[in-house]
Amino acid sequence: MQTAISINNISKHYGEIQALKNIGFEVEEGEIFGLIGPDGAGKSSLFRILTTLILADEGEAEVAGLDVKKDYMTIRQRIGYMPGKFSLYQDLTVQENLNFFATIFKTSIQENYHLIKDIYVQLEPFKKRPAGKLSGGMKQKLALCCALIHKPEVLFLDEPTTGVDPVSRKEFWQMLKKLKQEGIAILVSTPYMDEAALCDRIALIQKGEILKIAPPENINQVYKGRLISVKSKKTYELIQALRALPQVASCYAFGEFLNATFKTDVQAIDPILNELKQKHFADLEWHQTQPGIENVFMQLLSQSQADDSSIKAQKR
């Protein structure tokens, strides 16, 4: 297997703000690698360095076997990039945008049609519509088509599904799976934890630092404490009550249930919750549950937030 992206000790500052600290990892050909982190974590800076749009302060990186500094012109011909902001021409139609990008890369829609076919058939009814007038999901599909039209070896997708509805998100990820089968390496960032589970490997990133790299199914091995799903009709009161317990490290809403992390042994948990049930929450129900990526990420986030106690307003 070939290495599509190789990152070694990359750091980047903006004035006093350190956007990236000693980042290093590799992405293989045909791998979907997810960068999972909140707004301001440094994901977009890393994308811009790898797509040769900005220079790192320190460290080296290679994309498709080429150096991001020396070989930037060649890299640009061999990658596809979908930036976080919608950057197609709003007043050109769907078809005009696609033609424009094909022409820039000295190719044609026909030549690589097989790559975009599945996506493009959904766009075709709207091909005469200006890109600015498309719905969010359709805009993302068009942007993906434009990033793919020159058959790139490596695809960079910076939050391609933010603000997109769950159905369109699912369709978008089905397309990524197909591109992976074509051997295209994909580096993708997302704030959605359910999408993290669809990657081959993920890196959890926060404040410019990588907290953990692992396949999504192994990420929960680092979880500390016992996770219990708890439910009552009085959600607001229950959150307060659980957070007030000294045995509970954290409590957050998690879909239908609240997820409470207990610092105690498993045996100690039932008596605590039984007491709560008798005193205040007659309808209380609970069961032990396996931590998911979101649980792990939240635990790592709160640890790293506790580490630096300075709450200074930061520039993005």
């Binding site: 969010g136 939050e159 603000g163 509805d165 879909g255």
Partner: protein, 244 residues
Amino acid sequence: MEVVISTDKLTKKFGDFVATNEITFEVAKGEIFGFLGANGAGKTTAMRMLCGLLKPSYGSASVAGFDIEKQTEQVKQNIGYMSQKFSLYEDLTVKENFRFYGGVYKLKRQVIDQRLNEMLGNLGMLNVENSLVASLPLGWKQKLAFSLAMLHRPKIVFLDEPTGGVDPITRRQFWDLIYEAAHNGVTIFVTTHYMDEAEYCDRVSIMVDGVIKALDTPENLRKQFETDSMDGVFQLLARGTSTK
């Protein structure tokens, strides 16, 4: 049950296109009402009508007891609105934003400053009152935008995708604010693309192509569509495909 939003066949057409098609529903005081739908389903159009920002083509609605067509000013005074591109002034400080929005609602300077202290205090953000909004992280801006939407103590607050793009902890801190407001009797009308957040709502409506296809508690919707999550319900309704 006190009804604070009620609509009757509320409809909006743009040319031949029916964005919102005869939607009829009621929302009770203190309820967290989730207003879901795919991109382009007509959510924002419906919300803009309820806020008195857009006139319906036909049908009617009352919000906080006022007619959205004939009493738009009273509607606006009784609601708060946080849009997805929340309209904070980036080049004003936090305090200046409070004074601006307070001024728009004709609040006295003294009242504004008092609420600013109270609200920022609760958020642990007093130390940034003189910082430019542009310098704040996204999650802080979202909490700030929510506070500003609540500054004039509205009966109902409309939140259009308030939690996009932030980390899962910040998202839940935002929902803590929502729960607290609802607990204090404020009605919450919220749209979101996060299906776990749909579960936090008392009731949820799902809009497809301008029509409300389902409206019930998350629990009943899961039972009705025989799936174990709101994501499953949404996938079934919005595109007629099962996740299983």
